[in-house]
């Protein structure tokens, strides 16, 4: 078994590459024969078709890539916290997160290789064009990828074997290289959405302008934040998986804590994510109204209703986990009574967010409404209402965190009462103003309305920061009502963590689809048409099924990662056990 654990990453990589090559070679012999006839634009793939193959592999590669790039970010942060406060627990946790990396990195690389193969084989015309635009960046990418491997393995294997500052520095290098990788890869795909740096015929004018296109930075930022969410949620799922299988109380306590930390990271990163997404949408709109309307108002408007269901579920599950977590804290009973109000707020926001602009209605219903718009729901279906709902949703989740934070504490400072009133005042004022701005948005023109989202976001951030600061000072030297009993949490909380991880993965799949899908029948929007048989945009149901299958494959892979990681963990625990006995 140990041998297997050591060999499998490399072995699986080789196997996957061979399998991919064999697939292509033996399943599509006619595709090879065409080569002689002249330049080929597309080759076909049996059964599922070339589009679905590239789609699924790209999405899998992206998910693993996101995980591999995100884990070092928070592993390094946690390691640094442990280094500063000298708590060994944090260092161990960071190490345990990192342990998930090495296998995942191999998977990422194999999937990337597979994706490259398939792209060059199935879409030669497109790839030839992209290579002509981005020639040197591909070389750079290969070099950076190599560096990533060096940093990653030295960071992982060097744990505890070198001075801490050097190790932290390695981690920093790893993160820098990781960010470089995602930025380079983003430039290729954002170019396809919002091409830049080319003339009217599509010939290259400037590679830098092609890289620095309209959606490059928004996508970079959006993906960085989303990666942290995703990585955190997967790490939390690992904690949950270990928790459910734990045999001893210590193990349960440890993995409960790990799940909590992973989830904390995921949710903390989730809070700014809607704003980053909003910026991205705005840039798309600025690049081309057609693209913007296709995204928000056209065929894909229903996709955002599905997204609202996903994000609503995420927030609900995140809060649910926090409420359940409070059961392990003595003194949390005092905050029990607020649960229903928090839940009511989440439900109302969820409903507002998921209300579609144009409704599905039978003919009679539509007649009764006087058209395909409902006079009341119409108000909820637009951006103003949804932005407000998201902001309130974020504040609600923040409140849950706040209650969790003070669950077992009782303030001893003399101004505790005033502090509470001020905190509440800030919160109420901010919620009031955010809702007022949302309503005000109906009475002003569109460009002003878009601008209103900035003060809304600013106020929400202000509320979260100022209330946290007051809270920190108010609960200094607080009386502790009881310990946090890690491990004392119902199993369904762990399933909530799985739910969050699956929902994140699914959301990523769906958003990956829409980012690519808004190009519709273009490979490179407005420059190179998709003339293949797959140029049409499929139904959302079809896309959702592809996403579901992708997510299931991803979790099958992740199960292997978890299994292998726990194997190497066992060795360590056995060794420690042997040493102490």
């Amino acid at each position: 078994m140990k041998w297997l654990a050591r060999r499998l990453p490399a072995g699986s990589l080789l196997f996957l590459m061979l399998a991919g090559m064999a697939l292509v070679a033996f399943w599509a012999p006619d595709a090879w024969a065409q080569d002689a006839a002249g330049p080929v634009e597309y080759r076909s793939f049996p059964v599922v078709g070339s589009r679905v193959v590239v789609w699924v592999i790209a999405q899998l590669h992206l998910m693993f890539g996101a995980f591999v790039l995100a884990v070092p970010m928070f592993a390094l942060t946690i390691e640094f916290i442990g280094f500063r406060n000298g708590d060994k627990r944090y260092d161990d946790l960071a190490h345990e997160f990192t342990r998930l990396l090495s296998v995942s990195f191999s998977f990422t690389a194999s999937l990337g290789a597979l994706l490259t193969f398939f792209l060059f084989i199935l879409y030669p015309r497109l790839m030839e064009y992209l290579v002509s635009i981005f020639d040197w960046t591909f070389m750079l990418y290969a070099c950076v990828f190599f560096l990533e491997a060096v940093f990653l393995y030295s960071y992982y294997y060097g744990w505890g074997k070198m001075p801490k500052w050097l190790h932290l520095l390695l981690g920093l290098g790893l993160n820098m290289v990781g960010i470089a990788i995602i930025f380079i890869a983003d430039s290729w795909l954002t170019f396809m959405n919002s091409p830049n740096g080319i003339d009217a015929e599509g010939n290259l004018l400037s590679t830098w302008d092609a890289i620095n296109n309209f959606t490059w930075m928004p996508i970079n930022i959006h993906r960085l934040i989303a990666n942290i969410c995703f990585g955190g949620s997967i790490a939390a799922a690992y904690g949950a998986y270990k928790f459910l299988g734990a045999k001893t109380e210590e193990e349960r306590a440890h993995y409960d804590w790990m799940g909590y930390m992973g989830n904390f990271i995921a949710i903390a990163a989730l809070l700014p994510l809607p704003f980053a997404g909003y910026w991205l949408g705005r840039e798309i709109y600025a690049f081309s109204q057609s693209l913007g309307i296709a995204l928000m108002g056209g065929t894909f408007s229903w996709l955002f209703i599905i997204q609202a269901v996903l994000i609503g579920n995420l927030f609900l599950a995140a809060n649910y986990y926090l409420w359940l977590s409070m059961e392990r804290i003595h003194g949390a009973e005092r905050y029990r009574k607020f649960t229903k109000w928090l839940l009511a707020s989440i439900t109302v926001c969820f409903i507002v967010w998921a209300t579609p602009h144009s409704l599905v209605a039978t003919v009679e219903e539509a007649r009764a409404m006087g058209g395909s718009h409902h006079p009341i729901l119409n108000v909820l279906g637009v951006m103003s209402a949804k932005n407000t709902a998201v902001n309130v949703l974020i504040l609600t989740t923040y409140l849950s965190f706040l209650f969790y934070r003070r669950a077992n504490k009782e303030a001893t400072v003399s101004w505790a009462k005033t502090g509470n009133i001020v905190q509440f005042g800030i919160l109420a004022a901010v919620v009031g103003v955010v809702i007022f701005l949302g309503v005000y948005g109906y009475f002003v023109e569109a460009s002003v309305r878009i601008g209103l989202s900035i003060p809304q976001v600013g106020l929400v951030l202000f509320a979260m920061i100022s209330i946290t600061i007051i809270d920190v000072f108010m609960f200094r030297n607080a009386r502790i009502l009881g310990p946090i009993e890690w491990g004392k949490i119902p199993n369904r909380a762990q399933y909530a963590l799985f739910f969050i991880a699956i929902t994140f993965a699914w959301t990523m799949g769906l958003m990956g689809y829409v980012r690519s899908g808004i190009r519709q029948h273009w490979h490179v929007y407005g420059v190179m048409r998709d003339t293949s048989e797959h140029a049409f945009t499929p139904t959302l149901g079809y896309a959702a099924n592809v996403v579901s299958v992708t997510v299931l494959i991803f979790f099958a892979f992740i199960a292997v990662v978890f299994f292998l990681s726990s194997l190497s963990g066992k060795k360590k625990i056995e060794a420690e056990g042997g040493a102490s006995s």
């Binding site: 302008d209 003919v363 058209g371």
Partner: protein, 277 residues
């Protein structure tokens, strides 16, 4: 909004407070029923069933989260469920439930099948993405970069601008008013004969959130020029390029905004990237 129903639903919930020995399950059922009643009958015109279903599904999810987010509640509900399934005094109720559930499903299937033919549920895209450019009277108009050529007059030459608006007023009342109505609320004389009904320009979600080029496109190409995602219903809007000059169409666009007091969606300067296209 039907205030009476809303009040009744609230009163029902309030009454639950005074029920002795009210447990969590009773509250959940009460909330669910009150919301159902409100969504079903409390809103006028009635919500489409698809939306009612969605809202209730979200509510159900939230209520389930509520009972399971508290171990005391959760255990209580589990105990009740186990008791219901095992205890003697519930045997009759259990039997009735077990018989009734499949019957309800069967009834539902029966109704679904015997329902008369109805057009399929569908939604149309109200604002489909416009093409990059259109051809009007042999001239290409770039919808991405061209603005209303007379919009600039608003600041440069208010008198000339007023003339254009007045011309737009004439065009509107000669051609558009029959469907789009006297006050542009989409309720003209003919409006009720159409499906989809004419656009309501007073509404904040129509012209107020679109650029003038978009309005021009819709006027010039009308219903026949709508892309396929705006089907299945066919808009009866004529392609006005056959009846009006380009200037008249721009003028009436000016008038739409002037009359309703909306401002066209402004063009934004591109934030990132090098020089534009």
């Amino acid at each position: 909004m039907n205030i009476l129903i809303l009040l009744a639903a609230c009163a029902g919930l309030l009454a639950l407070r005074f029920v002795p020995k009210m447990n969590i399950l009773g509250w959940l059922v009460g909330w669910w029923a009150a919301t159902f009643v409100f969504l079903r009958w409390g809103i006028n015109p009635p919500l489409p069933t698809s939306i009612q279903g969605m809202f209730l599904a979200i509510l159900t999810l939230a209520l389930l989260a509520y009972i399971s987010a508290n171990s005391v509640h959760f255990r209580f509900v589990l105990d009740r469920a186990v008791a219901f399934a095992t205890e003697k005094k519930y045997t009759v109720a259990l039997a009735v439930t077990l018989v009734l559930l499949p019957c309800l499903v069967a009834l539902r299937v029966y109704f679904d099948i015997t329902e008369g033919p109805a057009p399929p549920l569908s939604s149309r895209t109200i604002h489909p993405p416009p093409p990059v450019s259109i051809e009007v009277a042999g001239r290409m108009i770039d919808l991405v970069n061209d603005d209303n050529p007379y919009r600039a007059l608003e600041t440069e030459d208010p008198a000339a601008f007023a003339e254009h608006v007045a011309n737009g007023r004439r065009v509107y009342y000669e051609n558009c008013v029959y469907c789009h109505g006297d006050d542009m609320a989409g309720d003209g004389l003919f409006a009720h004969g159409y499906d989809p009904i004419p656009a309501n320009f007073q509404d904040a979600t129509t012209i107020a959130m679109l650029q003038e080029g978009y309005i021009f496109w819709r006027i010039a190409k009308g219903g026949p020029g709508l892309p396929s995602e705006s089907t299945p219903w066919l808009s009866a809007m004529p392609a006005w390029e056959n009846f009006l000059t380009e200037e008249e169409m721009w003028d009436v666009t000016l008038f739409l905004y002037d009359f309703t007091g909306h401002r066209p969606r402004a063009r934004e300067d591109h934030g990132g990237g090098g020089d534009g296209h």
